[in-house]
Amino acid sequence: METSQSFRDPELARRVAEKIKSLTPNTRTIKICHVCGTHEWTISHFGMRSLLPKNIEVIAGPGCPVCILPASEVDAAIKIAKKGITVTCFGDVLRVPGSRGSLLDAKADGADVRIIYSTSDAVKMAQEEPAKEFVFFAVGFETTAPSTAIEVERKSAENLSFLVSHRIVPPAMELLAKMDDLALDGFIAPGHVSTIIGVEPYAIFPAKYGLPTVVAGFEPLDLLFAVYMIIKQISESKPRLENEYSRGVQWAGNIKAQRLISTAFDVKDGKWRGLGIIPKSTLALKQIYAHYDAIHRHNINLEDGVDSQPGCLCHLVVVGKIKPNACPLFLKACTPQNPVGACMVSIEGTCRVWAKTINLV
């Protein structure tokens, strides 16, 4: 079998599932939370929930940067675009609802909004059209933040500034760990966020909250093994921090990337759609880079936005309190073609993933 195929070996999966079953206490529900849109995709796409004992619940936390992007920042991007400035963004950011409409609506109204694949595409566009003013709407967790930091520090293009909406994941996990009504039993920590930040930032979850925490990769067997490792820790009553994804995550993370992040950004309190203000969870450009801060350069007033449309339950989906199909709008008023809530927009959004797959739970 090819190496890559071995990570999806059904026989191996069956054996891990058996091991999980044999270790799972059947006296109570065990709730494991992952914090990564791609984990949700793998879990749903490969029907992994059906392999687990009924009393193990794997829920999706706020692991999709597009889902937690507050309307106020989308509104700011729209304001910038309507000033005649070219706004570049990743594809899934385009349709995130702001208070009144999305960047896609602004584009339909004639604004110059362009989809890019990489921060470096924005740099290239700005360099090719020096007479034009460009803004990159920098959305993403720690995985994406280093690319913004690289281009800001390098001062790649004078006519390019950044609307920075980067968020950092561990503070949001801590918010969930503290929610009594969520009552989590363990965390599957995100893979590529951890490639950057390393494993250590999650140490507080086992140490302070008694929650087994395992960093996991993105193949179905990665996630099954992560569940197994968490169940094993629970059965031994020894919560600890483990790294299942050692081929993609070093314990210390990517030091170069961490250094770039801390040189370019200050950590500040910040708003997450559906979750409110989370202390020390947002990256903001340092004062010395104010020239590259689109809010500053284009004199934009950040106003309180409308994060939730009537009837939308994204704020409960995003913390795993309800499943997407418990929302009255799910696949009725809110569809992948016409998303009402942010969780239906990105391919990493929990509602969008559930709309495209069948979860037999």
């Binding site: 190496t3 990489s118 995985t143 690319s147 590529h192 490639t195 197994y228 050692s246 170069k256 770039l260």
Partner: protein
């Protein structure tokens, strides 16, 4: 495939070639890189992948006796 300065030509398989920024990694031509939105964030090796597989098998064998 090739590296010039901080830009590398990366083979994504099936003849898909893309320019990738390699500022964050110390990658050499011929190595595997993990790419996120056009920036390599980590080098990877087949050896590490095989290690994961053998670790998994060990875990499964451990409970067999």
């Amino acid at each position: 495939m090739s590296i010039i300065g901080d830009k590398a030509q990366v083979d994504f398989g099936e003849k898909v070639l893309r320019e990738v920024n390699v500022t964050l990694v110390d990658a050499k031509v011929g190595e595997y890189v993990l790419v996120h939105a056009g920036y390599a964030i980590q080098t990877m090796s087949e050896k590490d992948a095989l290690e994961t597989l053998s670790l998994w098998n060990e875990v499964l064998e451990a409970g067999r006796e």
